[in-house]
Symmetry: C2
């Protein structure tokens, strides 16, 4: 029996686990000092009323023999898939039921989708980026190459013709930088992917934070993207589902490699390695698309956006370089006093009791950068910004 | 971009999808003929009151800012892990929190756990067995060898010293045969696994159907099993969670390969490729372990067991060979009239409107066998048995 020795190539700890351990130690030693947590990208506002109403209905259905639901359809229930189709129709994207797969969240699908591709492939990942992309590709034994995101390109790297790639990760609005690609930039990526016969894995987990109507919310707004892209979406950040767990993945019928429809391979994977998302949770997610639900989640999104605005204003007043904050719940800025990102983390934690996420945890280009999130309370966000302004 | 060409080695359709398609066609052509479904192993009785109560509490918590839960602990909530530890303690098995991983069901873990092992390994799988074991191992590129389960060994194959294996699947009570290993038989498997330096993946999804107190409900009742086994459990069949989705996997600290604790590798996998099970669902599952919950699920289990008893009595009266039915919701019997299992399926569907599962779908040794499940209503079970008795 041999283990998968790719695991020995992984860093010992997952970024947020390391941050969590440092925070635990601080609070253990300083039990009376309250912490302002702007670290992990977790939401704080509860599920909206429409979702709660549907969850209650579903729980009630599950309690009675006549309405009880056992195993659901492998791709998810039509009552949830159809509103997703309608949503995309509004942006002139035509999808059908067989192209949509309900998931227990973007993270699982981002990882498990690698199983349908060969290993030892060239995977192009932005640096910095959400660490799970890299970790899961290391586990699968892929060869990772990086697209450098830096101050020079405003953390939005463009494709380079001389770089070969089989799989391309794009996260827009980006985690951690909040930087968001425009249409022209995404067109370049789609052309590049088609030229290289590559597949784009487009992580759209933060699309609902986009305010600027000119910015694409879906890769499928780009011509020919259906021939080269998979889109992975989540209810986590838009509808407070981080603890409730639901998302969806779109694989267009036009996406074909080696004569195989990728959506068919994924369905084959899901039928053998997954048993669907809880009926109760799917029923809750359905309400996100109701008129009521849309109004309610927008109210919460606006609340977070107000926080992001406060953060932008503070950093503007400090003449700091930053990305995000405008179409994203994340703000990514250069550490003050030329500190490294983990040094800056320690200073913020120990001196100001603000928890953020060190940029280095997202890749080498994050070394002198720092991520703060807009998911806190208004009071804490204000207080943290005052502390930043008076200390740097 | 290359796809994982192991997928081309898979059968085109998943067993239950094929059965479903045949049933759909029949009902389309015969809309007035009611079907007795004893095919897929799905439960029919609703969630018990204690679970529903907890689900309602959890939904309510998720609706309020003060009690809202975002991302949960990677391994699952202590409020669910601790009762599992208590349950095992009653059978003299000591576990600690770090050895238990809450999952969205046994199927996902059975598949995804392969990611932490090397590929191209020798995997020993019983034939017949739950098809997902084989399919997921084909996807991962493992070399499958079969342990033949036949009438001669009462569908409980014993290890053979001259067969080499790295991974060993054991499902007891077995799906599809219902056959259940006794202690002596499992001791042989544990000795064999240790001798071969192999890992046993013990699927205990049906353990709660075991009535005979002498039969092990956990592989860890066997001496030294902690050195060689992983146990995968589910709330699906015992507590009606097929559509609610929750299970757990136990990886003992003593399970070490190539100096790596397997539980650490799995935690590393889960932190990068999974984001935990819905808080609402975990809270519901917690109630399964309450005094109330235990009473209520036992009532439902007894209902299914009564059906199984009716089936055993009918087959006894027909002098049929069968396994299961006693400590399992499945009954596995030799097709009447020497029909092949798909021929028998067609006869039952077309002539008697009974849907079962053809044994061949579970492996070559299932060719002349058939699986019926005890998850139907008492009326339908009785009716189906009368039809069998009067037609064969």
């Amino acid at each position: 029996m041999r283990i998968n020795n790719n695991y020995s190539k992984l860093k010992g700890n997952y970024l947020f686990a390391t941050v969590g351990a440092k925070v635990s130690e601080f609070t253990k030693n300083n039990p009376t000092k309250p912490i302002i947590n702007m670290g992990i990208g977790d939401v704080t506002k509860p599920l909206c009323e429409a979702v709660v109403k549907n969850l209650n209905v579903a729980v009630d259905e599950m309690s009675k023999e006549e309405t009880f639901k056992g195993y659901g359809p492998y791709r998810g229930y039509s009552f949830l898939i159809n509103p997703i189709i309608e949503l995309y129709k509004k942006r002139n994207i035509t999808l059908d039921e067989s192209e949509i797969f309900i998931s227990d969240g973007a993270k699982s699908d981002c990882a498990n989708i690698l199983n349908i591709f060969a290993t030892n492939q060239k995977v192009l990942i932005p640096d910095p980026v959400y660490p799970a992309y890299m970790d899961t590709n290391v586990m699968y034994g892929n060869n990772i190459i990086f697209a450098d995101a830096t101050m020079e390109n405003e953390f939005l790297p463009a494709p380079k013709k001389d770089v070969e790639a089989d799989l391309i990760y794009i996260c827009s609005p980006n985690n951690p930088t909040g930087a968001t690609y425009n249409k022209t930039q995404l067109e370049q990526w789609v052309s590049y992917a088609i030229e290289k016969d590559a597949i784009i894995l487009f992580d759209a987990a933060y699309k609902d934070f986009i305010e600027d109507e000119n910015l694409p919310k879906s890769i499928f707004e780009i011509k020919d993207a259906k021939k080269c892209a998979i889109e992975i979406c989540s209810f986590s950040k838009s509808a407070a589902f981080t603890g409730t767990r639901c998302g969806y993945t779109i694989i267009p019928s036009e996406l074909v490699k080696e004569k195989n429809k990728i959506k068919d391979l994924w369905l084959r994977h899901q039928t053998s390695a997954f048993n669907g998302v809880s009926y109760i949770v799917q029923k809750g997610a359905q309400a996100v698309f109701s008129e009521e639900g849309q109004k309610q989640i927008k109210k919460t999104l606006n609340f977070y956006k107000e926080n992001a605005k406060l953060m932008c204003e503070a950093l503007d007043s400090m003449n700091a370089f930053y990305t995000g904050g405008k179409n994203s719940p994340y703000i990514w800025f250069k550490c003050f006093n030329s500190l490294s990102s983990w040094e800056f983390f320690d200073v913020l934690l120990n001196d100001l009791q603000i928890v953020g996420t060190p940029g280095e945890g997202f890749g080498k280009n994050g070394e002198n950068f720092f991520r703060l999130t807009a998911f806190g309370t208004k009071e804490n966000t204000k207080k943290a910004m005052e502390l930043l302004k008076s200390n740097f």
